[in-house]
């Protein structure tokens, strides 16, 4: 069977040739690891994804969870997949060995995640939310909380959720109304309603650990008065096992266009006044903790979006190679029909998908490697720089992959034509599933504000400077190779445009104020996304060009493909930033000036 989740040759290229992750094994935290252990983890992920996740992807879509007797029921395959994932240790992949973890680099962990997302994004959501919840407990919980909650979250007895959104507030978290009332025993009673809580109920695990944000009575209004709580579905007995039912009620399930296998829930906390919650960390710092976790979650969304794009690409590629239809332009309607991959326009659609899918994976893995660097790079300065760059890139990772992952899925449907529009092929489901990604974990509009309003200006623009320094290195390296020198020229021109735009906007913040500048934040986000992905394509092209000399047969074709995809991205997609830059530098006010009553 052809690989339909990830092209493993590409994954090896990205991890070992492009990112050089083998060097991580020199770092103290990863000395027990080697290329062999990395490969073993990836192979296990591939196998479980193919055998336990992919086969019920369509079934989960067609049999979405049902609300019965106040609880959510899922198809049994979801639980089996969960169990396989947990038993293989993936819930604890990056945790310390002493906590029962594999102590894997995040880069490898995210590559493993890629397989699960590509195979079945709905079923994969349950473990990934659990990983996020466990990260919060691990990072901010007391020793007692860690001892109590972490083991069952890491071995898969319990699952986790992120309970942020409320019906009246949506993305505006500062407006949350859920209250936390202090009790004499140090715990809290939680009262409030949450909506869109993924995995908020299910029949997969013995217990569910909701990570809930709420306002302690008397806390400041807005984002400064938000605290984080552990709120379990079942409270634990003295033996640490689920005992009494906590006062968290499933009020209903939401029915989505895609991602249907994941329950999306409306939860009521404390309808009977008996919802126990346990404060995590300090009061009023909940949002900071959540954002810490959310930044990781945003990389996770990126991986999911990119890999849905990736599997769609592989499916449409397979179809295009095998579907005879029509003839070349030059054949004038005569001779046998040819596989549609021979039509230039089909190649365009495949090449764009390749650029988005492999480019998206490169972007996510690069961000993951920065995450590893923030923790293990040699020296404080290197770690700090990695953090600045990661902060800058996070909104780009989350939004670019979501936008272009969906676009890739759109093209996959188009390659299949009428077949792609039917439910006999999986590409229409990828298209529906992926459409959530520009919305959840902060809409793309919110990412745009985060990038232009915050990350570009944070610490004197340190993240942007770090990006430019690395871009310059990439240009220098690309100039050394005949095959990539023209691309280096293209990219250098784009760099000048990006710098000029950033400087102009920086000044405009002072001269015209944030409203005028931020009105076009979405345009800036796309400009930066194209620039960053072009940079990573330039790097891929350079590595491919270097390798081409000694390559043979299949590898030659692989590297040529990398070069051609880079050419596509740098010639077809990157130059569109010229137009973006003109709108931005001109502080175009078309959208800002539009009146409500003119619509």
């Amino acid at each position: 069977m052809n690989e339909m989740l990830i092209n493993s040759r590409d994954l090896r290229f990205q991890l070992y040739e492009l990112l050089g992750v083998e060097a991580l094994t020199q770092r103290e935290r990863f000395t027990e690891h080697s290329r062999e252990t990395f490969d073993a983890a990836l192979e296990t992920a591939r196998q479980i994804a193919e055998e336990q996740f992919a086969p019920h992807n369509r079934k989960g879509d067609e049999n979405e969870p049902v609300f019965r007797n106040g609880a959510a029921e899922t198809i049994p395959e979801t639980k089996a997949a969960w169990r396989a994932f947990a038993d293989a240790g993936f819930l604890a992949a990056h945790h310390d060995a002493e906590d029962g973890g594999m102590q894997l680099p995040t880069t490898i962990q995210q590559a493993c995640n890629g397989y699960f997302f590509a195979a079945n994004v709905s079923t994969a959501a349950y473990p990934f939310l659990t990983v996020a919840a466990a990260n919060l407990v691990s990072a901010h919980g007391t020793d007692e909380q860690r001892a109590r909650w972490l083991p069952p979250l890491l071995d898969g007895r319990f699952s986790g959720t992120m309970a942020l959104t409320e019906p009246h507030a949506g993305s505006s978290l500062g407006d949350l109304r859920t209250r936390a009332i202090p009790q004499d025993d140090g715990s809290y009673r939680i009262v409030g309603n949450k909506i869109y809580i993924s995995g908020g109920d299910q029949d997969i695990t013995d217990n569910i650990v909701h990570m809930v944000i709420a306002r302690i009575e008397g806390a400041p209004a807005g984002v400064k008065g938000i605290s984080l709580f552990i709120v379990p579905k079942f409270r634990l007995g003295a033996d640490g096992r689920p005992a009494e039912r906590n006062d968290v009620t499933l009020a209903g399930l939401l029915h989505k266009m895609g991602y249907r296998g994941t329950t999306s829930t409306v939860l009521n906390f404390g309808d009977q006044g008996e919802c126990h919650g346990y404060l995590v960390g300090e009061p009023n710092k909940g949002l900071a903790y959540m954002f810490h976790m959310m930044n990781e979650a945003r990389i996770g969304v990126g991986v999911g979006a990119a890999l849905l794009g990736y599997t769609g690409y592989l499916h449409s590629l397979e179809f295009a190679r095998n579907r005879p239809q029509g003839r070349p332009v030059t054949a004038k309607g005569e001779g046998k029909q040819v596989p549609i991959i021979q039509h230039a326009d089909v190649r365009r659609m495949l090449l764009a998908q390749k650029a988005y899918a492999e480019g998206g994976m490169a972007l996510c893995l690069y961000a993951a490697s920065l995450f590893d660097d923030t923790r293990t790079a040699p020296g404080e300065a290197a770690r700090a720089e990695a953090q600045e760059l990661l902060d800058l890139l996070t909104p780009v990772v989350k939004s670019w992959t979501a936008e272009y992952g969906c676009k890739a899925n759109d093209l996959a449907i188009q390659v299949l034509g009428g077949s792609g529009y039917t439910r006999d092929y999986p590409v229409e489901q990828f298209y529906r599933d992926n459409r959530l990604n520009p919305i959840h974990e902060g809409t793309n509009g919110i990412q745009a504000m985060d990038l232009l309003g915050r990350k570009m200006r944070q610490h004197g623009g340190a993240g942007f400077k770090a990006l430019l320094a690395r871009a310059e290195v990439a240009i220098g390296e690309a100039q050394q190779q005949e095959a990539t020198a023209p691309l280096a020229g293209e990219f250098e021109r784009a760099t000048d445009t990006v710098v000029a735009t950033a400087l102009a906007l920086d000044e405009a913040f002072e001269t015209h104020g944030p409203e005028a500048v931020l009105a076009n934040a979405a345009v800036y986000l796309d400009l930066m996304g194209r620039f960053v992905v072009a940079w990573l394509w330039l790097r891929q092209a350079t590595v491919a060009a270097q390798a081409l000399g000694g390559a043979v047969a299949d590898d030659t074709a692989f590297y040529q493909g990398k070069l051609q995809a880079a050419r596509y991205y740098l010639r077809w997609e990157l130059p569109q930033i010229d137009h973006h830059s003109r709108l931005l530098q001109g502080l175009d006010d078309t959208c800002l000036a539009m009146h409500e009553d003119w619509f």
Copy 2:
């Protein structure tokens, strides 16, 4: 209730102020009509669409037709809607009064269609396919065929289908294998299989008239040997009523991502050797007849795509006005939450939708008015010019509306955020329904080849010259108004780019051959789409600017909105053709040069 299908103020603007359709009543064919009869038709369409089509749009999606005992069963609302549509005379709207028609201009007919598409595209498909089938019979049938088949198609006793696609050939119609075997009585026996036949079976009408393309035994291979046949589900008795079952079998239903209420069928013709078919027109001219009809159908697809975008826009606008969330940038997180329409980025998404939806409707109605001109404009020269321009614009109408209608629906989801992704709101269905439009009636890739390979070069580029002449008039008029003069400048620059591109490609056809040029046909299609829609926005802006002087209250806001949407389109969307033009003029070979084995 707010208008959720079409903004009727906009429709009046487009029909009466922009296109001046009232002038049509001066033409002989339409002398019985007046603004009042036009308005009455539009009002009837609106009412039936709102009352008989819209209410079961979701139900039809959730209860797709089922295959039972060899037949397709639909929900009963479909039949009721069909009946209301037929009883109001819309099946015969543009037909001659002597055939029982209303003799309405196509422009008004297509505007009426807009309501039905916006309300329920799946249910609307049945009558629109029937209209297309009736057009074929009317245009190419013998008197006897017209007498026999037209009345029941026009009064709704029978429905019609277009049976073109075959499983092994897809879009490559020249490869069809369905055979027609001549019989002594002048009829034919049809043998073959067709796929993706919309409305190919249903329980709505007494009979179904399939317009089937097939090859008469001994006919030339390829597109030159295709003939057109009437193949009914039931053969008619001497009294003209359905009698014996014809040998057309429903082999199965296809299950689609959207457009679910329309049956999509696999049909077998002549499994028992007893499938009777009746030749329409001359042998081997079937494809020309079909294309004649298909060109009308492509305008119809455009109306559907544009109006799905339009209704999505209205829904997201309503949501944005009423959903409080977050605060203005300048409020620094304080004060009450504001409706999200106050956020610049939400206004951007609404403005883009307005530009696509109203621009798409303008494009379709313009094409429809050209259609009227081909038949009724005073003088042969005017009719011929209208035909050239319509031929040129047809692929643009079909593909631009499909592409940007889908994009509008994508933005509608994004405006609604999490709500937009749930099936509690209609926008996700619009997004799924609309995704068929870039595929059927000739994929967008095929439209691109048609435009650049055929229509641009047809009759010495007469269509393109007609377009440029009209663009020049629009520039001149826009220059007269202060509000539109800057837009005229933008558009004039774009015109230069478009002309330069066309000339360069014309030369390249000679110097480099069709393969090199047509490889980037999709880029050319988008360039032309942006240019044509910008032209229509410039015209809308000019009419709005002229009207603003004497306008009051609500009308002032309406005209300001037109001006601002035109600014959006000409500033944000049009300039992207510079990049398109560079790729095209440089004969960029990135996609053409990509090898199959490099993927």
